[in-house]
Symmetry: C2
Subunit: 212 residues, 2 copies
Amino acid sequence: MDAVPRTALSRLPESGVDDLDALHSLLDEAKVGHIGLMADGFPVVIPTAIVRSGDTLLAHGSTGSRWMRPLADGADASVAVTLLDGIVLARSAFESNLHYRSAVLFGRFVALDGEAKSAGLDALIDGLVPGRSGEIRRSSKRELAATLVLELPIDRWSLKVSSSWPTDAQEDVVGDAWAGLIPARIEYGRPLTAPEVRDGIPIPDSATALGR
Amino acid sequence: MDAVPRTALSRLPESGVDDLDALHSLLDEAKVGHIGLMADGFPVVIPTAIVRSGDTLLAHGSTGSRWMRPLADGADASVAVTLLDGIVLARSAFESNLHYRSAVLFGRFVALDGEAKSAGLDALIDGLVPGRSGEIRRSSKRELAATLVLELPIDRWSLKVSSSWPTDAQEDVVGDAWAGLIPARIEYGRPLTAPEVRDGIPIPDSATALGR
């Protein structure tokens, strides 16, 4: 593991945050992560659903996935989890910026088996929609066999949070340009019922709680 | 460039889309990309603002950034650009899914200079907030010297789009579980004026157009 990169931030140290609660909060709010690894001799990035389970990060994929297989075999990996919180309109291009929270985790995944695998799948489902695993049937042996559930320890990471007003130089502040912030966030809409759902099956609490 | 991975999709071919307009639409809507590269012998992922300019993708960063520098030097790179469009609640964990659009671009960035660099910075600003570059002053020589503007040709890529209702087996459809979709999207809020903005400077059209 000597090759794990220094996670100390090389720039903008004021935005580096050494706060495990803030990291957990970001991982719990985000649904998607981006996994970086070497595959076929090239650095690739895999977008995938992620969920935190305690002090580990879970992801899953098909056993047939060409890019998930090396992860299950313990390839070096990074996982970036980013939420866009806004756009900062400064009075210059240089000071313009995004508001964001972004974590990068480093390490190696392990593939879960047996009970841990089933529990991991439940955690993945409940991470997307809290409470959902209790509303659906258990996975079959065939489904479990076709699925990789991968776990990464959350122990090497960096977290950057950008949440400031524009920091324009005074000579720009006294000028005529407006400056400010456009907030951004992921908005979940009202649940839509699939066409084949029989009459009388209500929208479950899990879906109404997430989709406002 | 022999090491560029096959961009043909290894799984779920029905979700692979060979449509340049759909790719451009995704790149134009997203504000953030995730760049994967090898740095210090480890596969890292850098979240960063991205914008499409014609048939290239632009990113920028500090000349002091440890992870942007190898990109400017032509390191192999992937860029993933993903938008979450919803959460699919199927009647089993196995069929549960996300609605998403996700592109991965492969290649090598080049650092822009001179006029192309200035134009690239304008494109980056206008990609975040259309029209914004015309409302702020030009970048100074010092600012330009401190900034890397990186360009990647959009010529090797894959695009996956997941936008279907749950595809549960008939034995699950006849069961008692609800199934459906929770739509998701990035919502931009009303522009907020920075504390130091003088009275009488109105919120510009660029900001009001984006922040509904």
